[in-house]
């Protein structure tokens, strides 16, 4: 893939590397948190501030997203002793992480605040189940929903499957190839002490797990967990005083969509996803191309979603995603590992946050695996990727996160080591 030419100095490019992710925070990834989303959210926010080496009261901007299954910034801010100059609680799920980081940059660039914390708190297993079962599945169907839910077409897996199935038909993508996404991410998770599922799976394990919604087996679907995550963004010149090497934000595309994004697949090809359009914003804004990326975080709500995005952002040719994800490229030790934490399929489900958090850690060269701690408190990585071992990507400099909302909409972000 040739690098995009980078001679056009348009507005977004002045902001390249001007802002950075300086703090990341997580709770445990669990089922049965025994906490409110408010308690989870403030826990992650405190962790993120401690990680950045700032006081929680240094946070003066706050962003969050949810589908009415979280607690808003108005409660969180007080609980961490922050008086805000800006806040906004947005509606949305997957692909919001990168998009809201873009908004954070925008409001700081506008002079509205100085230090933005973004959080996503959810009891995705024990309260509002992300897989769509439980109370949400039994709600009455009205209005426009008669064209979807009335047909038993409601959960994310159900809504996306026509895209997945058509991809197999058009390109000969096999269940075995797609299963490799789970296999690889489970290998990564086995080297992540925080991951909810640390077990390594085989292709056979995936294909012999029960069918949920053909073409999806149980193990093609992500795990439902309870957790909160937080990310702190500020200007890079301020980041220099903070605890860790900053992850500089190179470029972002946010909630970029296909035509007709009402989930009725009127605009084709239906195997094309939002990334097809987002790539033309992402790569020129970042001044790099797919070949420059050392690790990806391609959203794995399902095995298929990682594959489809990697294709449409140009990491391989359209239709060759099955080959790409089963080639070894996406493995630790491969040319361009994907979701080194185990992602949504294994680590836990956060609507995209943990994949950005993982890449920040990777860019710090400080993945929290089981490698021994050195005298500076940082891990002395062995780069031995066997089960239970290291998950740090060697000499990593540039990452790409590819966020997925649905086949029609995606967001993306390139970061580099500061």
């Amino acid at each position: 893939m040739p690098l995009p030419t980078d001679t056009d100095v348009s507005t977004p490019k002045y902001l390249r590397d001007k802002y950075a992710i300086v703090g990341i925070g997580e709770t445990t990834y669990t089922r049965g948190s025994d906490k409110t989303t408010r308690a989870l959210g403030t826990w992650a926010l405190r962790n993120a501030a401690a990680d950045a080496g700032i006081k929680t009261s240094d946070i003066d901007g706050m962003l969050s997203y949810s589908n009415n299954d979280s607690t808003s910034a108005t409660f969180m801010a007080g609980d961490i002793g922050a008086r805000l100059n800006f806040y906004m609680d947005c509606v949305g799920g997957g692909s919001s992480t990168e998009a809201l980081i873009g908004i954070a940059i925008g409001v700081m660039e506008a002079g509205m605040c100085n230090c933005v914390a973004l959080f996503r708190a959810m009891n995705g297993f024990s309260q509002v189940r992300i897989g769509g079962t439980g109370a949400r599945s039994a709600t009455p169907v009205s209005g426009d929903m008669l064209h979807s839910r009335a047909y038993g077409w409601q959960s994310a897996g159900q809504m996306f499957s026509p895209t997945f199935m058509r991809h197999m038909y058009e390109y000969g993508t096999t269940p075995e190839q797609v299963a490799m996404v789970k296999v690889v991410h489970s290998e990564h998770a086995s080297n992540n002490p925080k991951a909810y599922y640390k077990k390594r799976y085989t292709v056979d394990d995936v294909l012999s797990s029960r069918i949920i919604c053909k073409p999806l087996h149980l193990l093609d679907c992500c795990v439902e967990t309870d957790n909160a995550t937080a990310i702190i963004i500020t200007r890079t010149d301020r980041a220099r005083d903070m605890r860790h090497t900053p992850a500089l934000i190179r470029g972002i595309a946010g909630r970029c969509s296909k035509p007709r994004m009402d989930m009725h697949y009127q605009a084709g090809p239906i195997t094309r996803v939002g990334g097809y359009y987002a790539k033309d914003i992402l790569w020129p804004n970042a001044g790099v191309g797919p070949e420059d990326i050392d690790a990806t975080g391609a959203y794995d709500a399902f095995t298929f979603t990682s594959m489809l995005q990697l294709e449409d952002y140009g990491f391989c040719k359209k239709g060759e995603g099955g080959e790409y994800v089963s080639s070894g490229i996406t493995r630790l030790g491969g040319r361009r590992p994907n979701n080194t934490s185990g992602g949504h399929l294994c680590e836990g489900y956060t609507h995209g946050m943990n994949m950005v958090i993982e890449n920040v850690r990777q860019l710090r060269h400080d993945a929290d695996d089981s490698c021994p701690l050195g005298p500076d408190g940082k891990r002395q990585h062995t780069y031995d990727y066997r089960e239970g071992g290291c998950r740090q990507v060697k000499d990593i400099e540039v990452t790409a996160n590819l966020g997925w909302a649905n086949p029609m909409t995606g967001s993306a972000m390139v970061m580099r080591r500061g």
């Binding site: 064209h147 009335a150 159900q158 073409p215 035509p259 084709g268 239906i270």
Partner: protein, 173 residues
């Protein structure tokens, strides 16, 4: 007036402010399939909207459309999440390219109409029928009556059409 229905124990309703959906389903209740046809650019659209996706015109005329087409993609739900469907698995959701306006206004566009695979009477298809259908199957529209003045368009195998000898199905049965 608002429409109310009950389908497999699931409550369905359309508010009386929602004139587009009310009109669409009123035609369905008469087992007629009508779509909005743009008064300005002449293109049909699905599902009902308040404006033309291609030219943004708010002016449209409800127009009869033939309920025939070909399965563009599908899924087969084995683990239902909605209580209404739990005792009907596996059920199939079909995305059907209507013959009308296929490939217009651009190559990969079509009026893709969703529906379950049903019998000719509009009842969810039994498993042996599900196994006959895949990408490429020719289907025709039928209706499930779910309330007074409310019917859902559905798809059944078009036995009168020339069928592909082996429609494409997911490799694992």
């Amino acid at each position: 007036m608002a429409l109310q229905g009950n389908y497999l124990g699931m409550s369905l309703s359309i508010d009386d402010l929602d004139k587009e959906n009310i009109t669409y389903f009123k035609h369905c209740a008469e087992h007629d399939f009508h779509l909005q046809k743009c008064d300005d650019c002449g293109l049909l659209r699905y599902p009902p909207t308040t404006g033309c996706p291609w030219c943004a015109s708010p002016r449209a005329t409800w127009t009869a459309v033939e309920g025939k087409g070909e399965v563009h993609s599908y899924e087969e739900v084995h683990h239902a999440i909605q209580p209404a469907f739990k005792s009907h698995t596996p059920y199939m959701v079909l995305l059907v390219d209507l013959d009308s306006q296929k490939g217009q206004p651009s190559e990969h566009e079509a009026l893709r109409v969703v529906g379950n695979l049903t019998t000719a009477d509009g009842a969810l298809a039994p498993p042996d029928m599900v196994r006959q259908v895949g990408i490429g199957t020719r289907v025709r529209m039928v209706f499930s009556d779910v309330g007074d003045g409310l019917s859902l368009p559905q798809w059944t195998i078009d036995t009168g059409a020339k069928q592909h000898p082996k429609p494409w199905r997911y490799p694992q049965e």
